[in-house]
Symmetry: C2
Subunit: 349 residues, 2 copies
Amino acid sequence: MTKTYQIALLPGDGIGPEVLQAGVDCLKALKGDFTFEFTTFDWSSTNYKQRGYYMPADGIEQLRRHDAIYFGAVGHQEVPDHISLWGLILPIRKELQQWVNVRPVQILPGTQSPLRGVDKIDWVIIRENSEGEYAGQGGRSHVGTAYEVGTELAIFTRVAIERVMRFAFDTARARDKRLCMVTKSNAQRYGMVLWDEVANAVAKEYPDVKMEKMLVDAMTVRMVNNPDSLSTIVATNLHADILSDLAAALGGSIGIAPSSNLNPERNFPSMFEPIHGSAFDLVGKGVANPIGAIWSAVEMLNFLGETTAGDVLMRAMVKVSADGVRTRDLGGQAGTKDVVDAIVKELGQ
Amino acid sequence: MTKTYQIALLPGDGIGPEVLQAGVDCLKALKGDFTFEFTTFDWSSTNYKQRGYYMPADGIEQLRRHDAIYFGAVGHQEVPDHISLWGLILPIRKELQQWVNVRPVQILPGTQSPLRGVDKIDWVIIRENSEGEYAGQGGRSHVGTAYEVGTELAIFTRVAIERVMRFAFDTARARDKRLCMVTKSNAQRYGMVLWDEVANAVAKEYPDVKMEKMLVDAMTVRMVNNPDSLSTIVATNLHADILSDLAAALGGSIGIAPSSNLNPERNFPSMFEPIHGSAFDLVGKGVANPIGAIWSAVEMLNFLGETTAGDVLMRAMVKVSADGVRTRDLGGQAGTKDVVDAIVKELGQ
Ligand SMILES: CC(C)[C@H](C(=O)O)[C@@H](O)C(=O)O
Ligand SMILES: CC(C)[C@H](C(=O)O)[C@@H](O)C(=O)O
C-alpha cells in the first residue's frame, strides 16, 4: 500500500521559493512506499501588495486539509514586518495550534563553528510557540503625543508552560537526559516566575532527567564558552527565538538550521521551515543554502512517521556536505542547484 | 583645590566585595587633585536573610548624598533572584533615574576573542534602563489552578525612547557615526513599533549618523559573523541585557565587561558596576577577574569629569593585561590580587 501525503507548500518571500524547490526536489527523489501531493499557495508579500491580504479568509481551512505544511520564508522590505508576520506565519502557528517549535543545531560534517576549538555542537532548542512575548496583545495610547505609551503584554499560562515543559523533558529523556531551562525570572517577577514554578513541578515527573536553570543573558555566554555543557534547551517564544539564531550561527551557518512548528496532538498539520528568512540579497543568484529547507524536510518526514526516509535524506545531506559540496556561507563554492543535484544523486545510489 | 568625591560602595554578594575592593585599591593609587571618600553599605543578600530587607527605608535617600555609586554584584542562591534584584539593583536604577546603561566591549590587548579570526571588537551598547521589559508590571491570576495565567507587561514611552535614542545618536556621533538600532517589531506590534517610529524620527536630527535597524535574533548572528560591521548599538532593556552578555563573551570574557547606569541630567548619582554578577563558584578563592570592576571605575572617573585619571587607569589596566598578568578566565594564571598589584605598581610609575 502506498501512502500519499498532502503537503501544502508556502514558498513565501525572498529565497523562500528557491530553497523550498530544493527541498521538494529532494523529497521527490526519495524512494519508499509513499508519495507526495504538493499544493502551492502563493501567499507572498508580493501578492499581498496587490491583493491587500496574505491568506484568503478560508486560508487556515485550506491548510487544515493537508498532512503537513512546508514553508519557505516571509518578510519583504516593502511590507512592514509586523504586517507580514501577523498576516501569515504567526496566525498559522497559532491557529493550527503548533505550540512547540523544535530547532536542532549541529555542526555539519565538513563545516566549522566560528568558535575557536569547538568541533562539536549538538543542541535541540525547544521553543514555546503559542504565547509568551508573541501573545499578540498590547496597545498604544496618546498616539502621536509627547507622552505616548506603547505596551507589549507577554502572557504565560500554566497549560502552555506545562505542555512545552513535558515536551522538553521527553526530548531530553530520549537524548542524554540533560535539560537546560531558560528564564529571566530575576527581572520579570510574574509570568516568568510561573514559568520557573511549572518547570520545577514538571521536573518532579522526570527524576531521571537533570534539569538546570539558566538566565537568558548568561545563557548566551555559556553557549559561546561551553557549548558541550548544553544539550536540550527549553525557553520562551522570544528567548528561544534569539537563542536559536545565535545557536545556528555558532553551529556554522543560519543557512542550515531547520525548524518544526509542531502540533503534537496531530489535530492539525504541523509546519516545517528553515529559520534563515527571506535574505533578499541572495535572491535569484542561485547561491542560497538549501540545507535549512532540506533539513526541515527531514524533520517533516520524521514527524510523518517516515523515519527511514528521513534518515536516508539526512545521511545524503550530511554526506554531500562532508564531500565539500557546500554553499558560500559554509565556505564552499557550490550553488543551490549543485547541492540539490549532489543530494539527489546520492539518493539515487 | 582638591575635590573630594563621595562614593557609595555597594559590594553586595558573591565576588562583589572582592572585585569592588580591587577597584577601590586602584582608585586610591591614582594621583590627581581629587580624593575619594568611600562609604560602604552592607546591603547584601546575607544581610537580607537576617534583616528581611536589602535597603533600609531611607536607602535611596542615603545614596542620593553621594557623587557616584560603585556596585559589586547582587544575587544569591538562597534568595529568589527576583527578590534580590527588585530589593536592590532595580529600584536604584529606577529611583535614581539612571535611564541609560552604557556597556563598552573591546578585546583587551593580550587576550583573544573566542571567535576564529576575530582580533578586533569595538562596540558600545546603549541599553534603555528605565522601562520596557523591566517596567515591573504584570501579575498572576487563578494562582495554583490548572488555568493559571501570569503576565509581564513591557512598557515603552515616547519620552524614554526619545532620550535613549538621542543618547545613542550622540554616542555614535562621537565615535564613527554608525548606529545599529535593535528591535523585535516584527513579532511585537505595539510598543516595539513605537520604538522604531521614535528611532526613525530622532534619526532625522542626526543626518550625519548612519542608522541601521536589526531584529534582535538576527543581531546575534551578525555579532558572531561580522563583528566589525557593528559599532554603537542601541536596544531595549531586555534585548540589550542579552546582547551585552553575548558581546562580553565574544569580546573575551564576561569578567572584563563594565557598565555605567547613568543619570545624564545629573539630578542623581550614577552607578557603575561590572556586569559579571555574583559568581559564587569563585568566592574566596582570590581568582575573580577584577577588570570588570576596574574598568567600571574608569567609566566612573570619566563621568565625574576626571578624564585624565580615567585615561591613566585605563592605560594601566590595558598594559597589565598586555603584559600577561591575567586571570584564568582570560587564559592567564594571575589571581585577583596579582592584577591589582600590577596595576597599582603601574600607576606608581
Ligand atoms: C519570522 C519571525 C516571526 C520569526 C520569529 O520571530 O518567530 C523568525 O525569526 C523565527 O525565528 O522563526
Ligand atoms: C542583575 C540583573 C538585574 C541584571 C539585568 O538583567 O539587568 C544583569 O543581568 C545586568 O545585565 O546588569
